[in-house]
């Protein structure tokens, strides 16, 4: 074989040589072919002649060295430089470093004549990307070429701008490019539109003002220009379809003309008129017509015509048909069209051409939830595709099955998915597929065994590439359980047994994530398997610890499990052995864990209190103000320790001491107030800036932490740092030595034990029958009566593992005190949990402690003090020496959770929606109606709290009777995140009364405008479903940021993202202070200082992204200069500034 290759390669140079001079039939007279003698030609030929990678490397290195010398020699002519660039492009394509030539490419574009310039631009476009710093050097050249009278130069400049251009330099070329929109040559107009499209993509705000010019481009007499403008429209409509509904008719007319063959024949492609244009238009129409019956009405005709006209059997017509079908299914449905589209999908699915078949499947995937009958119609094809030799077809088929899964067919479908999962090597496929399997398993699992086995398979195949929330959710599900205690126990016991069986095997490698899951479950629930000796489990875990492939993170999980199991056994040889073995381990983490374990083992009572059984779901309240340390702080102060000063105060003092001359900008005034709390002080529980009114605030912080703790659940407790103990254990010792006789349902064996009936039949009957059988198992429940379950997501009743709602359990404050301590968990798990444990055991002050809202910090402190053991007390003060100064002069407020500050809390007030008193004082919007039905109305009020945006939704029952089971659910949106759970439940809302729920919202991805949608459903006579959407703007998340001029100066220098823009000042506000006060009022920017005709402002995007603004007025213009660590934020704010200045 290699011999053949060698010979072929040997012949190649000769071949190339022959080919060169003649240059093929078309070459003569036409375009130039490179002459045989050129350097590039010989380079390529030499490389082709080489046989090994090593030789190639050597040759290219040589070439690069000579190129390096040549490009940097001042004598090199531009013509030679052009040659060099071409060779350099070639070297780079082969994967060799050629960055030394980048700057010369830019130079060539700048200095060369047309021919050289062309190569220079090409090299730049290939070498650099749009964030490359050298690109700035090109801007001047581009500006010069744009102003050239030579068409080719202008066109080259526009070409490069449309490919790569530095975002911040757009203002420099924008006016020039706008001019080009009126150019007489259509090619220039077209490229100018294309360049604006590029600008729109990278900085939409910069081209906001030229939207009317886009319209002109859309009406251009040249088809090419019009087609180019569609790119921009597609993007803009994607962002905001409602703003362009008026153009629907124009698009329809254009499409009609195209389909009707009214365009020049040049634009035909295989005798189909302008297919690219058609597809672009179809896509735009789809976006415009979505959920909008009136707009959709306008396009039915043309869509039908498109379907009808596309009849030639060629790829290009299929491409149009496919787009048509997608559009028809996206817009407001019309039954006749849907029928035709469905027929069309059939054509695709049944096509012998594999590409069309794939697209058919893809189309089915999209529409299957709208039209389940299509799946039934094509079930045989789907079955065939399941065993298709091409994995891509298989994957798409699985995607269809995933969408039609219900309680009846889940076993078969998941089996098919697992089969694929085991075959595939591609990481991305594994991640997505494993996620889907886990989702289906959780939703539709027929029984516990199946669920655990399936998840085992997911973990062992998916392993460490899985999304981390899969194992987390799984553990949470186990921990939270369902409403049926017996069922819970069964599931957990089964999990324990299956893991023990898995661990029994020697020399099997499991992914780290899986081992972590196993060790958590074993640690928590191994005592449920009463017939298993804890010693056996400990031995297994011990063995694992000795394995080299186990990472130290996993070891921490295992150690936590060992600790938990040890707490339930009176004495264990294995534990002793383990302590001995690892207390001299080189791994410091391991040593630490071992040390902890050793000390805990010495005090069994303490250990049991510390590690309660099955308490992972209990809620915690965190006392963020650390009030329980008051005593300690007072003591420290009494002994003469210095009072604590927050960081910024220390900084300020230090500065004022050092200060002789201030060279920093904006150092004019020197406010001494504690104003930088916006940055640093907000969360610090110091008494300095927190008067009595902020105490409510700190309580709130505590609550928020509680909520996040709840949310994160399992993960938080057993994190990287190991185990933050807080369990109780009442289930004492089981010491029945018995070997495990588990059903040994191993993950790897899942494949062999499919529960499908079809497989049993298949062995005896012929292939056809087998497929029929499979079809019946797969498509069960897809009949006409089963429409509901088809919709998958709506099918709640069959959900097996529905997560318990968190609201139910909010009231468990059993562990309230635990939590207070875990706030101080930095001090290490050992020390910090001691007091509670004692408290738990003693129990004498239980009643006061259980209600943290009632006890003052003093009592808590006292209680803590009283229950501390003297020995441990010493340890405590030892380890807390350093924080001593921390709380010195703090008058920390007491934890007082008021019900309304709990965002989760869904409580009721009187009928007329009005805000709770404490919210009323905060800035808030009007209460506006969201949606309304006969029975109920939804109102919304936005409360702009200092640290978050709070949405308060009022559900008002207008009925004379009570409404049951009212659920308000917010949908997930990519830009925003709803803290805590996205749903709110009211078991009952009395007649004529109002329930309200509050949600904190955070902006995850920056956008100027967005929408959170959601729905409310409730039970009156029948179940009713009502949708609503809440528009949110960037401004909802902007808060003033208080700071001194000096802080401003410092922060300004440290920030890198710049945006500058001049805007016209409205005549009503010609002074700087007037303009700034507009910004202050409308945008909530904090005015830091005004000096002459300059002003500085500061604000922050919640939670804490600062943005600084410097303004200067000159001759009726306002020069804005933004800086922020977040690159998109200045753009967003600039846009808002422009808007408010125009409005005012």
């Amino acid at each position: 074989m290699s011999d053949v290759v060698e010979r072929t390669l040997g012949v190649l140079p000769a071949l190339l040589g022959q080919h060169e001079p003649g240059a093929g039939p078309g070459g003569a007279g036409g375009p130039h072919r490179l002459s045989a003698s050129s350097r590039l030609g010989s380079l390529i030929r030499n490389i082709t002649a080489l046989t090994s990678k090593h030789e190639e490397e050597k040759l290219i290195q040589q070439e690069i060295t000579s190129l390096k010398a040549m490009v940097s020699a001042p004598t090199t002519s531009l013509r030679l430089m052009k040659e060099c660039m071409v060779r350099l492009i070639y070297c780079e394509m082969l994967g060799y470093e050629s960055s030394f030539g980048y700057i010369h490419a830019i130079k060539l574009a700048q200095q060369g004549n047309l021919l050289e310039k062309r190569v220079g631009y090409l090299a730049v476009s290939l070498f650099l990307h749009e964030n490359h710093e050298l690109l700035l050097l090109l801007v001047n050249t581009v500006v010069k070429d744009l102003q050239s009278t030579n068409l080719v130069e202008v066109s080259m400049a526009l070409t490069i701008v449309s490919q790569i251009f530095p975002r911040e330099m757009i203002p420099a070329v924008l006016p020039l490019i706008e001019d080009k929109l009126q150019h007489s040559k259509e090619i220039i107009r077209r490229k100018a539109v294309q360049a604006l499209y590029k600008f729109y993509l990278i900085a939409p705000n910069q081209v906001q003002h030229i939207h009317d010019k886009f319209r002109k481009a859309l009406c251009d007499r040249d088809v090419g220009v019009m087609a180019a403008s569609l790119h921009i429209y597609l993007e803009m409509i994607k962002e905001n379809s409602s703003g362009y509904k008026d153009l629907t008719e124009s698009f329809v007319i254009i499409l009609k003309q195209v389909v009707g063959g009214k365009l020049p024949i040049d634009f035909n492609y295989h005798s189909v008129p302008a297919p690219w244009l058609q597809i672009q238009l179809l896509r735009i129409l789809g976006l415009l017509g979505k959920d909008d019956p009136r707009t959709s009405e306008l396009m039915y005709d043309v869509l039908e015509e498109s379907l009808r006209r596309a009849e030639i059997n060629h790829n290009i017509t299929y491409a149009i048909l496919f787009e048509c079908v997608q559009t028809i299914y996206t817009i407001y449905p019309k039954s006749e069209l849907l029928e035709k589209a469905a027929k069309c999908i059939g054509k695709f699915v049944l096509s012998p051409q594999i590409n069309l078949k794939y697209l058919g499947l893809k189309a089915l995937t999209c529409v299957i939830q709208q039209d389940p009958n299509l799946a039934l119609e094509h079930q045989m094809t789907i079955i065939e595709c399941l065993d298709h030799p091409d994995p891509i077809i298989k994957r798409e088929t699985l995607e269809i099955l995933y969408r039609i899964t219900n309680g009846h067919n889940v076993v078969v479908i998941v089996q098919k998915m697992l089969d694929y999962l085991k075959e595939t090597k591609e990481e991305y496929a594994i991640i997505t597929l494993a996620g889907k399997i886990a989702e289906l398993a959780e939703k539709y699992a027929p029984n516990n065994e199946w669920f655990i086995q399936t998840m085992n398979a997911v973990f062992s195949v998916g392993g460490d590439v899985l999304y981390p929330d899969i194992p987390n959710n799984f553990l949470r599900l186990l921990a939270e359980g369902f409403d049926d205690g017996k069922e819970d126990k069964q599931l957990r016991t089964y999990a324990v047994r299956s893991y023990l069986a898995l661990l029994e095997e020697e020399n099997v490698f499991y992914p780290q994530k899986f081992l972590q899951v196993m060790s958590w479950v074993l640690g928590e629930y191994s005592s449920l398997a009463t017939d298993v000796d804890p010693e056996t489990i400990l031995t297994r875990l011990h063995n694992l610890l000795k394995k080299t492939f186990v990472t130290s993170e996993t070891k921490a999980w295992i150690m936590a499990a060992v600790t938990k199991i040890a707490s339930r056994a009176s004495f264990s040889k294995t534990v002793d052995k383990l302590i001995q073995e690892f207390s001299s381990s080189l791994d410091t983490c391991m040593r630490q864990h071992t040390f902890e374990l050793k000390h805990l083992c010495e005090d069994k009572v303490l250990m049991k209190g510390l590690l309660p059984f099955d308490a992972s779901c209990n809620d915690m309240v965190v006392d963020a103000s650390l009030s329980f340390l008051d005593e300690f702080v007072a003591e420290g102060l009494g002994q003469g320790a210095a009072p604590y000063k927050p960081h910024h105060q220390r900084q300020e003092e230090k500065l004022s001491q050092e200060k002789a001359l201030n060279f920093e900008p904006y150092g004019l005034s020197f406010a001494s107030s504690v104003s930088s709390s916006g940055i640093a002080g907000r969360q610090s529980p110091t008494g300095l800036s927190f008067g009595s009114d902020t105490s409510g605030n700190s309580t709130e912080m505590g609550h928020k932490e509680t909520n996040t703790l709840k949310l994160e659940g399992v993960r938080k407790l057993w994190g990287k740092e190991g185990y933050l103990p807080k369990k109780e254990s009442k289930v004492g010792k089981e010491d029945e030595p018995q070997t495990v006789s588990c059903s040994s349902l191993l993950a790897r064996r899942v494949a062999e034990t499919p529960v499908s009936k079809s497989d049993q039949v298949s062995s005896l009957s012929e292939e056809e029958k087998e497929k029929q059988q499979l079809a019946s198992t797969l498509f069960v429940g897809l009949g006409s009566n089963a429409n509901v379950s088809l919709m998958g997501k709506v099918d709640l009743s069959t959900q097996k593992f529905k997560r318990k709602s968190k609201v139910d359990k909010a009231q468990s404050n059993e562990e309230a005190l635990n939590m207070q301590n875990s706030a101080a968990s930095d001090f290490g798990p050992l020390v910090d949990t001691v007091p509670i444990t004692k408290e738990d055991c003693d129990g004498d002050k239980h009643t006061t402690l259980r209600k943290p809202s009632l006890c003052s910090s003093d009592t808590v402190g006292e209680t803590l003090q009283s229950v501390k053991k003297p020995g441990l007390d010493d340890k405590l003060s030892d380890s807390r020496l350093s924080p001593l100064s921390l709380f010195a002069d703090s008058n920390i407020e007491i934890l007082q959770p008021s019900p309304s500050s709990q965002c989760e809390n869904a409580n009721k007030t009187v009928l007329l929606p009005s805000l709770a008193e404490e919210l009323e004082e905060l800035p808030h919007s009007e209460v506006a109606e969201l949606c309304q039905s006969d029975a109920l109305a939804l109102y919304l009020c936005k409360v702009w709290k200092d640290d978050s945006l709070l949405l308060v939704v009022f559900v008002s029952n207008k009925n004379p009777s009570a409404l049951n089971a009212v659920n308000v659910v917010f949908e997930k949106e990519q830009h925003f995140q709803i803290l805590e759970s996205p749903a709110c439940q009211f078991p009952v809302i009395e007649a004529q009364s109002v329930g309200h729920c509050q949600k904190c919202v955070r902006m995850d991805k920056l956008c100027t405008q967005g929408v959170i949608s959601g729905f409310v459903n409730y039970q009156s006579e029948m179940e009713t479903h009502l949708e609503f959407s809440i528009p949110l703007s960037l401004l909802d998340f902007i808060r003033p940021m208080k700071m001194t001029t000096e802080d401003f100066g410092k922060l300004w220098l440290s920030l890198s993202n710049d945006v500058k823009q001049n805007i016209k000042m409205p005549s009503s506000q010609d002074s700087i202070s007037a303009a700034l006060s507009v910004l202050h009022q409308k945008l909530k920017l904090h005015i830091v200082d005004i000096i002459g005709n300059e002003g500085i402002l500061a604000c922050q995007l919640l939670p804490s992204v600062p943005c600084l603004l410097h303004c200067r007025t000159h001759s009726g213009m306002l020069a804005l200069w933004f800086r922020s660590p977040c690159s998109a934020l200045p753009d967003g704010l600039l846009y808002q500034c422009q808007k408010v200045m125009e409005e005012s």
Partner: protein, 157 residues
């Protein structure tokens, strides 16, 4: 479109055009992975490929593979036709194009591509117009090669 790659049956890269900013390291990794994956596929298999979160559309012409990466919601078939149109353009320009034409004149192939696709979007679908633009530039190029410098001419105007 995110990027376009041309490579030979031996896995040698012949042309690369990236429409998204990526580091050199990433580009190399993507190229290596994709070339391997595509070459491993049998001729009867589907021309589309799900790869990471992208769709890969590829087609083989003689010994050359043309390979485009598009987003999930893009139309695969029309991308296939984009490839075909590009090959047609090359063919018309070079006159029955072969791999060697592209190897030795890759910069010309890039020029044609830039006239056809700009910034990842189809710029001009009329074959005539694309070639007209290229020829115009070529014409100037010829003049430039003659002693009379075009730069001078332009510089004066």
């Amino acid at each position: 479109m995110q990027f376009m790659l041309l490579f030979s049956r031996q896995g040698k890269l012949r042309l690369q055009k990236w429409y998204v900013p990526l580091s050199d390291k990433e580009k190399k990794k993507i190229t290596r992975e994709l070339v391997q994956t595509v070459l491993a596929r049998k001729s009867k298999m589907c021309s589309f490929l799900e790869w990471r979160d992208l769709k890969i559309v590829y087609k083989r012409y003689a010994s050359l593979y043309f390979c485009c990466a598009i987003e999930d919601q893009d139309n695969e078939l029309i991308t296939l036709e984009i490839i075909h149109r590009y090959v047609e353009l090359l063919d018309k320009y070079f006159g029955s194009v072969c791999e060697l034409d592209i190897i030795f004149n890759f910069e010309k192939a890039y020029f044609i591509l830039d006239e056809f696709l700009l910034g990842g979007e189809v710029q001009e679908t009329s074959k005539k117009n694309v070639l007209k633009a290229i020829e115009q530039a070529d014409l100037l190029q010829e003049e430039a090669e003659t002693p009379r410098s075009v730069l001078e001419e332009i510089g004066l105007t």
